[in-house]
Symmetry: C2
Subunit: 645 residues, 2 copies
């Protein structure tokens, strides 16, 4: 397998209306806000106590531990975000705060290398006795991810040393040796983090630890059952909740807690790419296909069940009861990116793009201050307020959560978005472009620095142009441009001359090889028709319905634009739609307007033999990610389709 | 208000294929089976312990109490069923068993009149301290209903005396007096039972007690809150769960636990009829309309939410998550019958008939041995097995339940079905016929005995004929025949001659007044077209769908007849349907067959821009009540409608 190198995000800047603004929001608002939250300085939001917990563990405070068993990870995710942000905009003030926090983490670390403030403060004698529920390995993983990001950004090694010392302890404790523990984490995360640490340090021990955790999961005798018996604990979640119902090499469907599942498979795919292990490659592909072919929402969200925040079964994709946690979308993007590395097929980037622009971005408000944990595809306000089976669904994004995994997760993703745009295949001198967003990037080969400029209005506009420029005057290189799966008639021009795109497209990438000079220009034209998406008819929820998509964006109707009782609106692909760019209150988006019908039957009787009455209406659809940024109200993605025969 | 007298069911016998068979099933199978269950003599079903609890309370056993706090009511409902059954078929063996059980109940009664084995055995010092949850008054109510039914059937007074002694104690304890408790039951039931006891004994004290409970409910200070504070109990259900969120006179919507709500309003409507209190009349009508216009399923089932077994909010009628408890259907029929007494409008009988033939009868298997607690309008087996929000739904009827309220409730209803068919208005010598079922009835005026013979294939056939015959040779009488709301073009013939039915119809009853002689015959022709029912478009679940109904029967598709993926089937009212009587495995029913389409899109991708493919199929629908009597599988009532524009 070809070794791929992501460009360092330190050299990628965006100039578009979507990522530029969001990265700025993260830098200017979210990072300071989350810092205040972690320090309990935000009145009216759920207390965090995260920093205080580290002070207690470090012996610097007499307070009492408060928070979830995975509270530490909130600080680690913040530090990871800060790392990405400093890569792009190094500011002394933020770095100073982060260094202080890192010093505190280092102070809290035990001599052995152990660090998990919950156990240190609350149950010091129960370390490693409940891998299923206690999240020590999970927090260790987030520590490693933060350490690598912070080291990449600043070159500073304090946090990296903390992470390595803990990783060393874990590598000693867990493994195939006679005196080593045969456990693995209830919540996967450390598997992917150890691979990052391996890449940052080149220490093969960390890769081997990751491999051990992956190989061990699901073996008999079942570790969590053995461990629970030791504790005298007869409660707990079923094995599939933690993906330990079967060894990974035998799994064929995506099961259990959605975030856990995609974090786990992110590591499986990356390990498969690193080792070339064919069983892991096959398991990755098999489970990926089950997810994307049968258990993924059109928004790229995953998790059909509030109960256990989990996958349910094939074709069960209820719109209103969708859980589709923001963190699960983030994790799905991680996995998609690893599959792309593993298989070099643009269809993985299609899924990645679908999730990013829809079910992931929806997790944050346009002003960056509020978050959705749950991202449903349909809301009926009265049901959200009344029905117990929607008790986790919210009509409006919230400032923070008791279980605050999603806000820092979306922040770290947005800050590192650049990582997902380009990939450079050094051995064959190929620059892959997986996502489109206006901006500049600089990357280096052994001999030169190459500047890439991407000019586009994407995701709103249909043209993407590239120029390349080397400090040596010119560069021989293949540029591989992803042709999105949603695009029907893409066109390619090099220096104004049309190239037959089919001739040059391989695995979904249109490839242009040449000696690039300053004045060369390659342009991809991606016509963005309004697409009428239908689901497999085994998805009961969506039969007879259509979802509107344009480019990567899935659309929805909101009550704000269309009135209430959205189920009464029918749309038809026989009526042409208009696409208009609106500056307006949603931050600059394309809206779709079209002619449809409103079908009503509001009589005295609940049931009648009359047919509903239809009258024409104009509907207005907005990108799904932008919903719930105006008047709270009804929303729906899947629209009833008129006359589809 | 006109005093109405139901004909004694002792004088009504059925000869049809539905009620005759079911009453026989109750008599020959259900009553003995339930007796064995109450005595814990059925291997493999949930233990009941009901009789044993009475023995413990009577000092005849040293065992330990087992069961719900309302376990006593299972015996009382059985005794009530036995009463109805003995009215029609008096058998020594059954009466002997019942008398023994009654003697045991009498032995368990305390000197004070108190009887509630849970408190007597488990918490004797906590009587009347938790009216919200402890069901003492609820059990008292079922005791009274059983006592009246058994007295009516046998003339024996042992149980009636037990009931009166307990009612006397309750009337002393609760009331408006200075030293009386101001409480009311958490689970309404005693209110309607006290009115039955009043009618059986003519003791106005019982009517006054019922009135007290009804008037007191929901007043401030809130009794359940006061009582909970006394107990130091800060948990518990919200006031609307018990319909105590507002005084009844101020309620305008049906709220909370569905069975409680309809039991309560049964009493409210009856008390309104007894007292003429205009505020109670209005409250009954207001809340009834809210229920039937906005919160009732097309099967006549009620309760849209598993959580709290409750109503939810207007137009929220999910088919798969329907709770629609069998007991709630039984209670709705009680209430409908009281509304009919109160208002003399056939539309109440329409609702009563809808519920009886659909959402109530579905609660029992065709062979009478198995029961549904939950009666959904749509099932997807995989979802029932997997989804936590369907955890109470079953694919197959069960033998018994831990909370075994439904089986005895449906048994007592079927045994007393005759009560709902006829009503005789003595003052104006009018025989009202509210439901149609072949059979004979005898009733008496001051001067004569009148025999009514109803000849019909209803609910399968369209003609209903009546002959009347008096022991005096003839009788002057009005026969008022309900013209069902579902019927479009009814016709009426008297002795073969057509009468203009519109001319003689009043409040939904076609009235024929004459001096009836043996040879006279009145025939109602009720054409039973296949009706294509649509719901108000504010019911999101049902928009774009239709339910098939013929006569009073709502139909459904089952996987057994139509294959799986029933959502793919589209029906159209432009294709004619055939109705065929099938003896077959569903005990003799009309099936509907028709031409529809199957719409499929089973591709490699979950989402595509392709349209589904349609091909013609023949569908077969069976009456809803008969579902799940063959191979377990998918079922749905609301069918997608093709080309409804």
């Amino acid at each position: 397998m070809t070794k791929m190198t992501a460009l360092s995000i330190s050299n990628i800047t965006f100039s578009d209306n979507l990522w530029k603004k969001r990265q700025q929001l993260i830098r200017e608002s979210v990072i300071p806000y989350q810092w205040d939250t972690l320090n309990d300085n935000v009145p009216g939001v759920e207390p965090s106590h995260t920093l205080e917990n580290f002070r207690i563990a470090a012996g610097l405070s007499d307070a009492t531990y408060y928070g979830m068993v995975f509270q530490d990870s909130d600080l680690y995710k913040w530090l990871e975000t800060v790392g990405y942000s400093l890569s792009m905009h190094r500011t002394e003030e933020l770095e100073k705060k982060a260094d202080e926090a890192i010093d505190l983490v280092a102070a809290a670390q035990e001599e052995s290398g152990y660090i998990h403030t919950y156990h240190q403060c609350v149950r010091p004698d129960k370390k490693w006795t409940n891998l299923r529920d206690d999240h020590e390995l999970y927090c260790a993983g987030h520590l490693m991810e933060a350490a690598v990001a912070y080291f990449d950004a600043t070159g500073k090694t304090v946090l990296l040393n903390v992470a390595c010392r803990f990783a060393d302890l874990i590598s000693d404790l867990f493994g195939p040796g006679e005196n080593q523990m045969k456990g693995y984490p209830g919540h996967p995360e450390i598997e992917l983090a150890l691979l990052k640490l391996y890449k940052a340090t080149d220490n093969i021990k960390y890769l081997n630890s990751s491999k051990f955790f992956i190989d061990e999961r699901g073996n008999e005798p079942h570790y969590f059952e053995w461990e629970a018996a030791q504790r005298g604990d007869n409660k707990g979640t079923p094995p599939s909740y933690c993906q330990s119902h079967l060894p990974i090499r035998e799994q064929s469907s995506i099961e259990g807690h959605a975030v856990r599942a995609v974090y786990l498979y992110t590591a499986v795919a990356e390990l498969a790419a690193e080792t070339g292990d064919p069983e892991l490659v096959e398991a990755s592909e098999r489970v990926w296909r089950n997810m994307t072919d049968k258990r993924m929402y059109v928004t790229g969200g995953i998790g059909s069940s509030h109960y256990h925040e989990s996958f349910s079964f094939d074709y069960d994709l209820p719109s209103d009861r969708a859980y589709t946690e923001t963190c699960a979308s983030v994790g799905l993007v991680f996995w998609a990116e690893r599959m792309l590395q593993l298989k070099e097929d643009a269809s993985y980037a299609d899924v990645m793009e679908r999730t990013i622009y829809n079910g992931l971005l929806s997790g944050m408000s346009l002003d960056g201050t509020k978050y959705f944990y749950v991202n449903p595809l349909e809301v009926w306000p009265e049901a959200v307020k009344t029905r117990n089976d929607l008790s986790d669904t919210e009509l409006e994004r919230q400032g923070w959560f008791v279980c605050a995994c999603c806000p820092p997760n979306i922040a770290r993703f947005i800050s590192s978005f650049g990582d997902y745009v380009y990939a450079f295949k050094e051995d064959r001198k190929e620059l892959q472009v997986n996502l489109y967003a206006a901006g500049d990037a600089v990357f280096s080969t052994d001999t030169e620095n190459i500047r890439v400029r991407q000019t586009t209005e994407y995701p709103w506009g249909e043209h993407v142009s590239f120029t390349l420029d080397s400090d040596k005057g010119g560069v021989e290189l293949t540029v591989a441009l992803r042709v999105p799966g949603w695009c029907r008639n893409p066109e390619l021009k090099v220096n104004g001359e049309t190239v037959d795109i089919e001739d040059v497209t391989e695995n979904g990438y249109a490839k242009v090889h040449r000696y690039w000079q300053k004045e060369d220009d390659v342009t991809l034209f991606l016509p963005m028709e309004v697409e009428w998406i239908r689901a497999d008819t085994r998805v009961r929820e969506n039969i007879g319905k259509t979802a509107l998509q344009r480019g990567p964006m899935v659309y929805c109707l909101e009550e704000h634009d269309n009135g209430s009782e959205l189920q009464e609106i029918l749309v038809s692909d026989e009526s042409p739609c208009d696409v208009t760019f609106e500056e307006g209150d949603l931050g600059g988006i394309n809206v779709i307007t079209g002619q449809g019908y409103r079908e009503t039957l509001h009589g005295d009787a609940l049931y009648t033999t009359q047919r509903p009455h239809r009258e024409p209406v104009t509907f207005k659809a907005v990108p799904y990610f932008s919903w719930a940024n105006r008047t709270p109200g009804e929303m729906r993605v899947w629209l009833r389709e008129a006359k589809n025969d």
